[in-house]
Symmetry: D5
Subunit: 120 residues, 10 copies
Amino acid sequence: MNASFRDILETFENQFPGRDYEIEIICPEFTSVCPKTGQPDFATLTFTYIPDQKCVELKSLKLYLQAFRNEGIFYENVTNRILDDLVAVVAPRRMKLVAAFGPRGGISENVTAIHEATST
Amino acid sequence: MNASFRDILETFENQFPGRDYEIEIICPEFTSVCPKTGQPDFATLTFTYIPDQKCVELKSLKLYLQAFRNEGIFYENVTNRILDDLVAVVAPRRMKLVAAFGPRGGISENVTAIHEATST
Amino acid sequence: MNASFRDILETFENQFPGRDYEIEIICPEFTSVCPKTGQPDFATLTFTYIPDQKCVELKSLKLYLQAFRNEGIFYENVTNRILDDLVAVVAPRRMKLVAAFGPRGGISENVTAIHEATST
Amino acid sequence: MNASFRDILETFENQFPGRDYEIEIICPEFTSVCPKTGQPDFATLTFTYIPDQKCVELKSLKLYLQAFRNEGIFYENVTNRILDDLVAVVAPRRMKLVAAFGPRGGISENVTAIHEATST
Amino acid sequence: MNASFRDILETFENQFPGRDYEIEIICPEFTSVCPKTGQPDFATLTFTYIPDQKCVELKSLKLYLQAFRNEGIFYENVTNRILDDLVAVVAPRRMKLVAAFGPRGGISENVTAIHEATST
Amino acid sequence: MNASFRDILETFENQFPGRDYEIEIICPEFTSVCPKTGQPDFATLTFTYIPDQKCVELKSLKLYLQAFRNEGIFYENVTNRILDDLVAVVAPRRMKLVAAFGPRGGISENVTAIHEATST
Amino acid sequence: MNASFRDILETFENQFPGRDYEIEIICPEFTSVCPKTGQPDFATLTFTYIPDQKCVELKSLKLYLQAFRNEGIFYENVTNRILDDLVAVVAPRRMKLVAAFGPRGGISENVTAIHEATST
Amino acid sequence: MNASFRDILETFENQFPGRDYEIEIICPEFTSVCPKTGQPDFATLTFTYIPDQKCVELKSLKLYLQAFRNEGIFYENVTNRILDDLVAVVAPRRMKLVAAFGPRGGISENVTAIHEATST
Amino acid sequence: MNASFRDILETFENQFPGRDYEIEIICPEFTSVCPKTGQPDFATLTFTYIPDQKCVELKSLKLYLQAFRNEGIFYENVTNRILDDLVAVVAPRRMKLVAAFGPRGGISENVTAIHEATST
Amino acid sequence: MNASFRDILETFENQFPGRDYEIEIICPEFTSVCPKTGQPDFATLTFTYIPDQKCVELKSLKLYLQAFRNEGIFYENVTNRILDDLVAVVAPRRMKLVAAFGPRGGISENVTAIHEATST
């Protein structure tokens, strides 16, 4: 079912592929569900990427992230899975994702994953 | 019509070309229009550059940025286009532009583009 | 179906009914759905109340608020409805609810509703 | 031409007219034009009102405020005129508008106007 | 066993009983234990009082608060019980206690209780 | 010479005299000179007033405040004198001036003066 | 020896006795010594007063406060004593003193004392 | 007895061992006891690590840290010991621990220790 | 006339020339005059330098900066000129000057210049 | 007399000499006296060091710093002298001291000095 989420993502053509510029996208309203407790989790996701031929379309990104609303998935897995989906669809030169989850039992967790294109 | 905007920019002579010093210009009142929805976009633009023979004149920069008030243009394009215009007119040794757009649909985007002079 | 949500709320006995003291409960992770657009809404809810014979049990409050996760309801209505539910179950001497919703289209909204017991 | 702007505003029925509750709407992206210099002005508008029979619809409020984008009008006048328009269309029990304008020549100005319904 | 905690508190003579002045004491390091889950709770306690003939000695207050370290007690009860103990020992003209507990399950709670001397 | 400073101030007609609304003007760049030491003083002036028939014109206010640049005058006197000048020229229903001076010898001073019109 | 400290304070004539205006003086560098432990205490003192015929001269206030540098005195006593000294020398219409002491053993204390002239 | 604390820690399998990603865990509610004075110490612990085959399970980490609640141990030792325990159980590629202790006698201390796996 | 300003600067002997240590001096009260408009400019100047044989005396630096109070000079020029003066008088191993000017027409500018001694 | 101050400092054995870990100690309550004006100076001192065989004992550090309370010494000298004393007694692998002094005449100064052990 991961694949079906990925299909929501759309891109548009990067008009300035000759320049390595950076796009940062901040999504403070991400929510999914803890697969163990069934309780909702809340996070701020921050994407930072250098586009190659494509940029992610923001509205499709919003819909893609909303697809996780009732999905049971752990912090570390959701971060890596979302990064993998974006990388597969956007094929950026570099992309970083930071997922900052709110406190649970007095403990907060942030997960940071980075993808570097092999042949830049 | 890009060219006509560029013509608004004026420069003055850098009095200290022997030193690599940095000028940071912060413009929190930039606004253009989304070409898809027709809705206004708002951003803070921050230029950071090392002048070579010329510095950008601030009042002309203000008028240049105001020319985008009713211009329909996407985030990524407006950032790269403004950087290109400044580079063409000011010919700096290095220039960075960060455009930080306000939230839309719960998502914010910042675009950062850098120009390095080839022969410094 | 409002009634069924209300049934989730539990209370415990106020051990100090002889004193008018105040309890403030801050819930930064409330989410419901816009009935017009189908898009999720996010809010921080802050309850402030003076208990009479009962206090609201926090875990039941959490579960009650989670029941709105996939409920389509407008800002003003959800605020008043939640206040009504709490008042019906807890019967406080006074209760205030502030719901602070995140920005949509560049505009944020906060709704504040107050209940005063008639015979205090 | 004031009247035509006012026509953009839409309302919906207040579902809780039996309670004096407060709605705060924050619009950080207001812009108009200085009639003297032709330069754009930028402000954050904050409305706080107690609805009677009607609430202002947020999307129509956004479009109404955008109508001022190329309108030449002074700080004090735009604040009072917008308050008058909202009062005329929404007929609230009480409404306050704070307009906080950005600095010009090293000086910032905030204008605060309040309407109280005569027969509450 | 409440009484034995109270015995830890010491006072010194108020040298300025002719003036109604206010003493605010901030204790960010309070911890007790949840009687239901056995998990530790953490709070910042803020006392604000007008002394009559006695002031509370700070070191004894610290030791008194430390006595709760392994005590199982609910938020509302610990706040009212500590206020009662201070009032019994210090006999202030007025005393307020705010206990601000850290988030649990995404929800924070602050409890505020006030004592007014009957014959001031 | 006080009078000559006052002559710099200009006003425009209040278009909404039927409503008691408030104008706040923040001037963070005020500077005068200490008459005792000859050293420059720096302050942020904040005016808050309810206009009657006239509003102060901002550019003239800027020029008026600049006239104090090389004027030797104490904190308390400059605050009261500026308030008196504004009151004389603008004739507001109420005006408050807060002058917040930067630290000297480790000590900062803020002066607040208020004028209430006698027959409102 | 209290009296000798008081003698350090100097005043100047209030030029605007016809107006009840407020002077706030912030002194973040107060230090005295704990009489019990011999350890230094540190506080920020904030005076707020309405002058009658006299204002306190700032340099003399600085020297007066420095006189406490090696003086052994408790929090509550130093606050009331300093207020008494200022009131005796300046004879204000009203004066408030807030003394905010840094944390000791994880506990901070602020003392607030107010003097109101009996015949204003 | 160190070993018995270590036994509380549990892990789960890292699903993305092919990527060097970072997990940051913030624990603002750590408390232990000073072995010299018997007084409680309070700290915020921040772990930052790159998992290899295992990730630390958050609930077990919470219980592990609670085991120090009545343990007498110095700042520097508790930081290094906790890092050693985590490294022994989780075997990360890299782990950093920052322990930020609250002020004692006007002095605060932060301890930072790093473990790098020898064969990465 | 530049030279005469430079003469105001005084130095004292660096007692620790064997160590490369850094001195940061923050001057939030700099003001000069725009040569084009005649309007005053305001800036915070921050010097950071590694002394060689001499340190700048702070009181003389204050007087030197005050000499610019009525001097007409552009942002970029005043920053470089002040750095040149300090370098000429203090002969530091390295010196950086950041001049952060307040907003004009909605645009702020910061200028950063660095001097590195050629033979360190 | 420098030597006698240094004698106040005590150390304890580093239990983890096999690891290069960092200790940061923040002392916001340092005060000494300006040798020129006789006026007290106030600073926040921040030590950051990697211990070798010894760690500085915090209570002795507090007493050592208090010894400067009535000592006349310049900013640059006190910073270097304190660093030298700590290095002599603690023999760390690396130590940095930042001394941040409060504003005097509108100017603040921070001094940063670093010691690196020659044979690490």
